[in-house]
């Protein structure tokens, strides 16, 4: 690992100030991703700003503003604590399941909620410094586009990058219409709708998200909803646990008698950002919650997929996973 300066921030303002002044600095929260990337020489910050001691860890009910009655999750709270908080388990079980589907117990004990959003892709070409990668070194090309791209995107990719976002938590957050609260360089707080937080690669894959230089995630807000009775997070992977998703689905339904009043479906492991399946959602509104309807709804989204050479299987897998997740959601999200 290359030498770097270690600084410990005492409050959010000073953390943001240091990060704004030094473009080569990075925040250090859980460290589970950035330290790995530094050991691999993929990321080379000359300064790490330890923000683990900032008082941004609470999970609480939002008392005012647009998301009143919803829940606010501190940017520096641990994934484990967010997943197990009574407010989250009771009212947003989809988020609990999604967080617990990711990584291992040890990593969830370390990783923070804000850090989860900002983790980098696990594309093997991004990790291998001997390979071309536009995300790691803009202008060098994409090794995965015509390489081994079994794990890669089937939606929204560009010729410059076919990587996928690795988070499970974020798939649930985009389905739940969350908002990212950010402290900007001028000390003011701004809000970014979750769907606009992560980016598609376009011709700038080095930029994963729309966070500005030096900006710090202070909290993630989830508005109140009526999905708690019928939601489920399904993750399909190469081994039973502790592996990244081939395809994952966050599914949530709100019923009006026998008919679907509102549906939320997002897919992970298929794009550069957590992918909201808007075609599936639109199709389901006003329909009965039958397996046939779920399959057809899944088809509506998946027919737009553009698979690469080695990941054509993700299209069929995605269809089945969406239908199965919706069936499980109807079953109360029980395993």
């Amino acid at each position: 690992m290359r030498p770097f300066k270690y600084s410990r921030a005492n409050d959010a303002n000073s953390a943001v100030q240091i990060a704004t002044a030094n473009k080569a600095a990075n925040f250090l929260a859980g460290g589970t991703n950035i330290l790995d990337l530094m050991k691999e020489d993929v990321m080379r910050p000359d300064e790490l700003i330890d923000i683990t001691r900032l008082n941004l860890t609470q999970v609480k009910t939002i008392s005012d503003g647009a998301n009143k009655g919803g829940v606010s999750i501190g940017g520096l709270g641990k994934n484990t604590d967010a997943a197990n908080h009574p407010l989250v388990r009771q009212n947003f079980p989809l988020l609990t399941q999604a967080i617990l589907a990711g990584a291992s117990a040890q990593i969830r004990n370390m990783a923070t909620n804000g850090g989860n959003l900002n983790q980098r892709t696990r594309c093997s070409y991004f990790y291998d410094t001997a390979m071309p990668c536009n995300k790691r070194e803009p202008g060098t090309g994409c090794g995965a586009l015509e390489g081994i791209n079994r794990m890669h995107a089937i939606f929204g990719w560009s010729n410059d990058c076919v990587a996928v976002h690795p988070s499970d938590m974020c798939v649930a957050l985009v389905a739940l219409d969350a908002t990212v609260k950010v402290q900007a360089a001028d000390g003011k707080e701004r809000s970014i709708p979750f769907a606009d937080y992560h980016r598609l690669p376009g011709d700038m894959p080095q930029k994963d998200n729309n966070l500005g230089q030096g900006e710090l995630i202070t909290a993630i807000e989830i508005p109140k909803n009526n999905f708690a009775d019928k939601s489920y997070y399904l993750k399909v992977r190469d081994r039973a646990s502790y592996a990244f998703a081939l395809v994952s689905v966050a599914a949530a339904l709100e019923m009006d008698g026998k008919l679907i009043k509102q549906a939320r479906v997002a897919i992970g492991g298929v794009a550069h950002k957590p992918w909201r399946a808007t075609e599936t959602e639109k199709f389901l509104v006003g329909k009965e919650a039958t397996e046939a309807n779920f399959k057809q709804a899944a088809e509506m989204e998946m027919k737009q997929a553009k698979p690469l050479e080695h990941n054509k299987f993700k299209v069929e897998l995605g269809k089945r996973a969406i239908a199965r997740a919706l069936m499980q959601a109807m079953n109360g999200g029980k395993v």
């Binding site: 030498p3 009574p86 388990r89 399941q97 117990a105 040890q106 004990n109 299209v315």
Partner: protein, 278 residues
């Protein structure tokens, strides 16, 4: 007699050992035949002790020199004080130093193992402030004021921690390299279950706040961050379940039957057909 022993070309240590072994008749060593073999046999029994003494000596010298070189060449020094297995420790570390390296190279606690060094295997698992974490992805500099428990800190006096004892009873290892991490992980797991924390395979995450009785599936899911290349998993699950339930465990298993094979083959055919239509 002295001459005869010298003929054997013994070192001072060996001579001393010879006396301690209390040969009834040292003359038997004068014959280089049968007696020599007997001598070597007795030596090999005692040899373990000599080897251990030498190693201990060497390790102390080694650890000492590492300590010195580590402090001589460090960059971006961070002073950090934390508790390790109940004892206060204060170190000047390189900002790059992980908690794992601090434990192993600076504090001579080599129980925690460096497997992959990338957070993929769990061999470096330790308990920090009551939570299991990966010491290979934790910077020592961030540990200021924290309490670290390693495998060396689990037993009370001469008494093994119940999880350690259960791992021995159930053969929860083969080569043993992943074991310190497995055990630290399992110890923390017991508390998580007691606190009612959920996992991805918990039947209903909305039911909360009470101690959980963990099924084998729950234990496997909760231990998935600890990889065992020897594949001692069934034994590890049995050991954990025994401590968790307080009841003696016996492993159950069965051969794969013809039905299982048929199901697998049918599924494979279906998958192939699906792939062809894509």
């Amino acid at each position: 007699m002295t001459e005869e022993i010298q003929e054997l070309d013994l070192t001072e240590d060996e001579k001393k050992l010879l006396e301690e072994l209390a040969f009834e008749d040292l003359n038997e060593l004068s014959d280089f035949g049968e007696a020599r073999r007997q001598f070597l046999k007795r030596m090999s029994v005692a040899g373990g002790a000599i080897l251990a003494a030498n190693l201990l000596d060497g390790q102390q010298i080694f650890a000492h020199s590492l300590n010195e070189s580590a402090t001589a060449n460090i960059e971006n020094v961070v002073k950090v004080a934390f508790k390790v297995n109940g004892a206060e420790k204060s170190l000047n570390v390189d900002s790059r130093m992980t908690l794992l390296d601090a434990l192993r190279e600076r504090l001579e606690l080599t129980g925690s193992k460096k497997g992959c060094d990338h957070g993929q295997c769990g061999a470096c698992t330790v308990i920090v402030d009551g939570r299991r974490v990966l010491s290979c992805l934790t910077l020592a500099a961030t540990c200021e004021g924290k309490a670290v428990t390693t495998i060396e800190g689990l037993q009370k006096g001469d008494e093994l921690h119940p999880v350690q004892a259960a791992f021995i009873k159930h053969d929860g290892f083969q080569c043993g390299y992943c074991t310190p991490g497995q055990i630290c992980s399992a110890v923390a797991l017991m508390n998580e279950a007691k606190n009612g924390e959920a996992s991805y395979v918990t039947a209903d995450v909305r039911l909360k706040g009470r101690a959980l009785q963990l099924s084998d599936d729950e234990i496997r899911e909760r231990m998935s961050g600890n990889i065992c290349r020897c594949g001692a998993y069934p034994n590890i699950v049995a050991a954990i379940k025994e401590v968790h339930t307080g009841k003696a465990q016996a492993q159950t298993w069965q051969f794969v039957g013809e039905n299982d094979v048929a199901i697998f083959e049918n599924e494979s055919k279906k998958e192939d057909a699906a792939n062809e239509t894509v």
